[in-house]
């Protein structure tokens, strides 16, 4: 998942905290893609997701002073911020769940390319709780514990949400799962 190893990440965070611009830029470079992916899976729109990336790193820039590496890992902290920012965005625009038919209207060209991907279509129709758990664990490679910290739920809940998300995705993508098998 991450582009930088742990020691380097720690060093960069420490330097950025001390006001080193190069270190902060390196952090942005290392994580902007991951943040974007996560935001995009929430919002389903390039422009909004890019706004989120900007907002997140702006927030990180100012909040870095309060961040201590004794608590959460930097990535956990970063994704918690991203999630909050996304939820705020959704609240602001009063969209509970991004349905494709709505988001298609404002989708740009790049969006359309992604939307043709049936997996993405299926993913966007999942309820948001499942989607965020799935994206964090299956796409970003977080452990159940870390994802639980970001989403403020227990690791067990993360596990079941990801599993349910998988089952639904398989079903939605036409790979129907035989119902009998769960009874045996």
């Amino acid at each position: 998942m991450p582009l930088v190893n742990k020691a380097k990440e720690k060093m960069l965070v420490r330097l950025a905290k001390a006001g080193n611009d190069w270190a902060f830029n390196s952090l942005v470079k290392a994580f902007e893609k991951d943040v974007f992916r996560f935001a995009y899976s929430f919002l389903g729109n390039v422009a909004d997701s890019q706004d989120i990336v900007q907002e997140v790193f702006l927030k990180v820039h100012f909040a870095l002073q309060n961040y201590t590496d004794t608590g959460a890992k930097f990535t956990t902290w970063l994704f918690a911020i991203t999630r909050n920012q996304c939820l705020n965005h959704l609240k602001r625009n009063r969209i509970d769940n991004v349905e494709l038919s709505e988001s298609l209207a404002k989708a740009s060209f790049e969006d359309e390319v992604v939307l043709k991907n049936d997996l993405y279509l299926a993913l966007s129709s999942l309820p948001i709780e499942m989607k965020e758990a799935f994206v964090l664990v299956a796409l970003q490679g977080f452990s159940y514990e870390e994802a639980g910290k970001i989403l403020e739920i227990s690791p067990g809940t993360v596990k079941s949400r990801v599993h349910n998300a998988r089952m639904r995705l398989i079903e939605k993508m036409g790979l129907s799962v035989n119902k009998e098998m769960s009874i045996r």
Partner: protein
């Protein structure tokens, strides 16, 4: 194992959260249960799609993430100017008949090739050599190499310098070094933090890429940031490699034109197919060689500076010998006491057995 558990295990397996033990259980279950195996395969195909899922990512623009310094831009610009001049000279001196030849070819192939050859000329020449500051000089270099004469003055050296510095404040030094490098048109290629046991030594390895003409200046500046413990300068002569690559490239291009001529003359479809195949092979070779050439030239243009920053933390030593003596004595006392207590407890079973034996003996004697 029940199928429901197995399903969850499959999901956990793809989350990389399944223990080895559980994985073994799952495997044995999958061997028996066809339905779960089917689900496993579906999950596998889902997983491969997840891995392939691309998001329309564009790097952010407002945040200053670009680090192309003005100096680098000038370098690139001068490189392309050099490219044009070099291409003109080469074109007039050697390739002119070939390009004319090409223009008479069937439209598709001809455009394809001219594109490629113009790419090649630009790419080749903009692969920067040590003194890009002087375009005319560079163009002459191109020509001399092309004619395979007088290449003694034109040594292509890859410079690799490593410095070990002892500094007081690693973070501050890193900041200074990055600023210095960026001001001189270089960039930080890598940063590694090494921590030794007991934190007696902190070490950071920082790798810089610096334009060759600025190397001396940068090195001299960095030396002043701390106490120099070690210095190592390595140069690798890649002149021969570059000349070889260029010769190969010329040969491949000649072969390419020859095959193109043959294709014009060919009448059978089988021959055409064969020739086309050969042509693609040669074009692959050309691209590979060009890549290597670019790589070598970029190595020559940017020197590598590896800087090892070391900070020694003083171990805490109790300077008061009196206190030290007592603390030592106390430690010895604690050690001895614990040994004694251990011994006593170790002997306890024997003592108990002995007491019981003695009691029995007394009991028998009394009777």
């Amino acid at each position: 194992m029940k199928c429901k558990n197995a399903q969850e295990f499959i999901s956990q397996y793809y989350d990389k959260q399944l223990s080895k033990n559980d994985w073994r259980k799952l495997k044995s279950h999958l061997a028996d249960c066809d339905k779960c195996l089917e689900l496993y395969q579906k999950m596998a195909s889902l997983n491969s799609r997840v891995k392939a899922l691309q998001f329309p990512f564009k790097p952010t623009t407002v945040l200053e993430t670009k680090r192309t310094s003005p100096a680098l831009k000038v370098l690139v610009a001068s490189g392309s100017v050099v490219g044009i001049i070099a291409a003109l000279i080469i074109g007039f001196s050697s390739i002119t008949p070939k390009t004319q030849n090409l223009s008479e070819r069937p439209a598709s192939i001809a455009t394809d090739l001219t594109n490629k050859s113009s790419n090649y000329a630009g790419g080749n020449a903009s692969g920067i050599s040590p003194d890009t500051s002087n375009p005319s000089n560079k163009a002459e270099d191109e020509r001399t190499v092309d004619n395979k004469t007088n290449k003694a003055n034109n040594l292509q050296l890859v410079q690799d310098i490593s410095l070990t510095l002892r500094v007081k404040n690693i973070n501050a030094t890193i900041k200074k070094i990055t600023e210095l490098t960026e001001n001189n048109g270089g960039y930080v290629a890598n940063l590694d933090v090494v921590q030794s046991a007991e934190q007696l030594r902190e070490e950071t390895i920082i790798t810089l890429k610096v334009p060759v003409d600025k190397l001396k200046e940068v090195k001299a500046n960095i030396r002043e940031f701390g106490h120099v413990l070690a210095e190592k300068v390595m140069t690798e002569d890649v002149t021969l490699a570059i000349v070889d690559l260029e010769a190969n490239l010329r040969n491949y291009r000649r072969q390419e034109t020859r095959y193109l001529e043959l294709i014009d003359k060919a009448s059978k479809i089988a021959d055409l197919e064969m020739l086309e195949q050969k042509l693609t092979e040669i074009r692959q070779n050309i691209e590979a060689t060009q890549g290597q050439l670019q790589y070598q030239k970029s190595r020559v243009a940017m020197a590598t500076l590896t800087i090892n920053l070391v900070k020694k933390n003083k171990p805490k030593i109790e300077e008061n010998w009196f206190v030290m003596m007592f603390s030592n004595a106390w430690q010895v006392f604690v050690g001895a006491s614990s040994a004694l207590i251990n011994l006593l407890f170790g002997l306890l079973p024997f003592v108990i057995v002995g007491l019981i034996g003695y009691g029995a003996y007394r009991f028998v004697r009394k009777r």
